[in-house]
Subunit: 304 residues, 2 copies
DNA sequence: TAGCAACTTGAATCTACCG
DNA sequence: CCGGTAGATTCAAGTTGCT
């Protein structure tokens, strides 16, 4: 697996990339009027026109069986929801994209606040576009555990306690299939329950690690190539490397490019450590010692 | 409180209703290609044109401070999500509506099934439209129990601590604590977690009782008037009656009109029984007996 | 080691105020 | 009257540090 970050506007960078090279694009583009310093402050009214030529390049570099996942949410303008996301969907369909599905990311810890005419906004859209009706989708890779353990836990704990996310890199080895031998697993739904990652001072990710991770597992195989044209701090790229995928990032702001490369280096180390940890875990499964290791693994392996 | 059901197409029925009479419209309109027998099979492509003249009547009978809540979800057509809901939102804005918010109803137990290119659909839109930027909203009526954070904190915090911190000038900590004194409930978000009612509803567009109930508590006062122009089996009307609101239903299919009236009669009885129970509970609070009455009441008062 | 307590941080949104 | 910005509001999750 390899990863790299290119500095520049993805519109320009992608034009020099060969066609049909990417298996999955997962990105959280700058929202309207956000990140104004880096993207010149795209206003809501101009958003679709700004996005469309870039989407055209996404379609070109994406394999016919590939997927495009866009994490986005319209902001409130003058007391009501702006319609630029709706218009973007319609425009992208005109451009030839298939609007295959809309996943909902439920942000369990959303931004606080109180206003006279609305509540806190606790969800964002994850728009799933494809080029063809038949595309790569590994549903088994993201199955969630069910059965005795899960049932008991679900019964005794509140809904809030059931959902955990793997904010840390280290617990990904919980994905080990062997841990779920003899247990039933169920397919997830199109609603993802994840908390935003906070607390990392000045290093907060736009979206939680587990979000791109889930889509990468779902829509790619190991060895495939993942692209994030608005790489930001590199959350998507890190997740891709950890999962043994190739990662390509494009980022306009120099500060983010630097940070992105740091993230990639860390992710590469983590991935190697992960491989070692997985080997150890496997050994313990053969001749288990006393301890809570198994329980811990089970607990952490329910990211969704 | 009074309730009634009118047989007919809401387009015709509403034309004979006086203007600005209704405080809230909560409805789950027939989805495209659903209930084809009753509404003549509106196809997805014709949906907006079919809906708009009815929305025009909604605007006419609604008070300026009123709200319109539409529970809807686009169906999958030919492998992708159809865009008629997006187009409907854009068209209703052109008609003069304000698209104030989009709530998400997360269906905890969604319809089972497996498809090659998507997961089970576990969410629906609850589109909130208003005529004016200022509208009636009783946020306190739908507050939910708070998370552990404040609970544990307030429990262990003595009165001395509050006073001590509060006395310091410019101490944000003390200020915040003062605000949270005695607060055990928080405002909800725009994501509603409700299980679908698995009872044998013959009605295809039935939504859970708690969904209209939540919006009725949020957007109306007791004595206000709630309208459901696609009354179906009468879920919205029953919730309105139970909450002491007037309920007006319109339903085209004769079979559903009959059923709707049965629902209303039952709801009326239930509301009266509820009133008696509340009186009993009040008495018990003064001199409580052993039993579960009190617990039951508090449990039922937290539908979400 | 586990548990509790203190503290920090959000892709927010509205109101008030100033030029 | 428009356009921008500073202040107030608010809560779940994570992190650090102490017992």
């Amino acid at each position: 697996m390899r990863g790299g970050v290119v500095a520049g506007d993805c519109l320009d960078v992608l034009r020099s990339m060969p066609a049909e090279r990417v298996d999955l694009i997962v990105t959280s583009p700058p929202y309207a009027d956000q990140r104004a310093s880096t993207y010149g402050g795209v206003t809501p009214d101009d958003y679709v026109a700004w996005f469309l030529p870039r989407a055209e390049q996404f379609a070109r570099v994406l394999k016919p069986t590939g997927s495009l996942v866009i994490n986005i949410k319209e902001k409130v303008v003058d007391g009501e929801r702006h319609t630029y996301v709706l218009e973007l969907i319609l425009a992208m369909k005109k451009q030839g994209w298939l609007w295959t599905e809309e996943y909902v990311w439920h942000k369990r810890n959303c931004f606080p606040g109180k206003w006279p005419n609305r509540f806190r906004d606790a969800w964002e859209r994850c728009l799933h576009f494809t080029r063809e009706k038949r595309f790569k989708m590994n549903q088994d890779a993201v199955m969630v555990p069910m059965g005795d353990w899960a049932t008991t836990r679900l019964r005794t704990l509140g809904a809030n306690d059931v959902v955990r996310h793997d904010s840390r890199v280290g617990n990904a080895f919980g994905k080990n299939i062997a841990n779920w031998q003899g247990r039933d697993r169920a397919y997830p739904t199109n609603v993802l329950h994840l908390a935003t990652e906070c607390g990392n001072k000045g290093h907060s990710a736009a979206f939680p690690h587990a979000l791109p991770r889930w889509f990468i597992e779902l829509f790619t195989d190991p060895g495939d190539t993942v692209l994030d044209p608005f790489a930001g701090s590199g959350t998507t790229l890190a997740a891709a490397l950890e999962l043994g995928r190739n990662a390509i990032g494009i980022e306009l702001a120099p500060a983010y490019v630097t940070r992105c490369r740091q993230t990639l280096a860390t992710a590469h180390e983590a991935a190697q450590a992960l491989a070692r940890a997985a080997a150890v875990t496997e050994q313990e499964l053969i001749s288990p010692r006393r301890g809570t290791a198994t329980a811990k693994v089970s607990k952490d392996s329910v990211p969704l």
